[in-house]
Symmetry: C2
């Protein structure tokens, strides 16, 4: 019954947007990934680290979503990873105000014994050596290994990133990162180069412009939902990864056709996350909400043209 | 048998891109619109103006596409409208090097007697008074009036633009222009405001990020084809408008569902235009090319998720 193992941060976020600001609220890549995957009703385990300042209410929320937190180490006397940022008016760019690594600085992930044969492994954005360490602890190679990363690791740990990428099936990065990684402006050319670095599948996230899925010579495009307001973009990319990985772990079908469905689930879930601060919208999300949103995605892009 | 009447520029373009440069080649909004519409096998008439420097070979090319040029006035001793521009490396921005209005400066469009009851009217990007004048010359209101415009007219002729917009069904503009017109950053909010200015349907063109179709509470998204290289973006927006208006004039079905198909035809045709300089790719385009490209658009966005 082990299905989806998620490695990533569990954090405090403090966020300012044109719509308001928060105190320190629940955040972190693994949090968003796990809460999104929980909507797919798939058994999900988290590997992460927190300090003893992490409140029980956050634990309770995550456990209420059936997330298995056995792999979340609590460091006594330690402080939880903390990030604070301010979004600009266009919501497409942001300034980081505070980054306190805290317990993340010496994080040595330990995969619980019961989680060493996951169906799908989702490596959230972390130091590539931490991602590699998790892979190395597994007793069997998962059916699918997905890795998310960012420009920071390309700048500072390129060799380690290239090393772990060799063991990865699906890479998720944004458009600017794809350009940096490949030194190509064209995303089609960038994808070709990146698919020679290890992963057989690449997802390029374009934020409000949707996401592209590349696999061999196939391309699929998933739109982002056009929204009146993006209230808080924090966690949208991780929510997307959670929906994508959760859907695949649930359906156990790794064909390109099924990855198309998975990317739509990811996009639909991400469209909720940006409606409220942090995890607020995911926390209250119902199955009915999700089905309705998936239907909107269908009508947003599907068309019928009869071609002879 | 009058179907699609197109008003717009017929011009000389001189283009520099990172891939090369041209001499003065055939360009202009009406040229691209007409050549795209001709792929839909719809009777198309052009209203425009040229100088006596306009070569017969360009006339021959346009007539070989079955474009009716009876409404194209040739000004003896006049020079054809001339634009020259240089695209930046990202191909998303460009500098205008030369704009010589020439015969366009005093353009008084005259709709030929045989073209005063068109099924569909496509008002290409021109002074709103010129667009209005064409509308006023028609003996019957067309089934559909589509208008394309740009920031230049919003800056200089706002009142005239608002006046002609009241008589228009479909407006096509790009994302920055939608934001300027509505003073809203969110394209969804922008669309709501713009749909109160007259048109019942709005198309927001986002270049490499595709196009959005808004009608009442319905939204449809058409992707742009991810390309290895955008060789020359000149005319892509007009080609899109030509495919869209041509498909609707051909099918005579103005439902939202059919507009979805029309926007896909427009996107598919635009994806050819950017493959070569100017009209070169449109000039050689075959029906087989188009059907194949439409099929790629289908596989690019269509997915099946069964929802209960």
């Amino acid at each position: 019954m082990m299905s989806l193992l998620v490695v990533g941060t569990v954090a405090f976020d403090k966020i300012e947007t044109p719509f308001g600001k928060t105190d320190k609220i629940l955040g972190g890549a693994a949090t968003f990934i796990g809460m999104a995957a929980s909507m797919l009703d798939v058994k999900t385990g988290i590997v992460s680290v927190i300090g003893d300042d992490f409140p029980d209410e956050h634990i309770d929320l995550m456990e209420s979503k059936n997330l298995d937190l056995a792999g979340v180490e609590k460091v006594e006397g330690g402080k939880t990873f903390y990030w604070s940022g301010r979004y600009h008016n266009d919501m497409n760019s942001r300034d980081t105000l505070v980054t306190e690594l805290n317990v993340l600085e010496n994080f040595q992930p330990e995969v619980p014994v019961g989680w060493r044969k996951p169906e799908v492994l989702m490596l959230g954005n972390l130091h590539p050596l931490v991602q590699k360490s998790v892979l190395n602890q597994l007793e069997e190679r998962p059916k699918l290994v997905i890795l998310d990363t960012m420009n920071f690791w390309m700048d500072l740990t390129w060799d380690e990133l290239m090393d772990v990428l060799k063991d990865v099936d699906v890479l998720t990065i944004n458009d600017e990162e794809a350009r940096q990684m490949s030194k190509e402006y064209s995303l089609v050319k960038a994808a070709k180069k990146i698919l020679e670095m290890g992963p057989h599948t690449l997802i390029i996230k374009k934020g409000e412009h949707g996401a592209l899925l590349f696999h061999e010579n196939n391309v699929f495009f998933a739109p982002a939902l056009p929204l009146e307001d993006v209230f808080d973009p924090t966690g949208a990319g991780d929510t997307f990864a959670g929906g994508f990985s959760g859907f695949l772990a649930k359906t156990k079908n790794y064909s390109f056709e099924n990855m198309k469905r998975a990317i739509i689930y990811g996009s639909a879930l991400a469209s909720f996350t940006v409606e409220k601060f942090g995890t607020d919208r995911l926390a209250e999300l119902t199955d009915e909400d999700l089905v309705e949103r998936l239907d909107i995605f269908k009508s947003l892009t599907n068309f019928d043209i009869e071609l002879d």
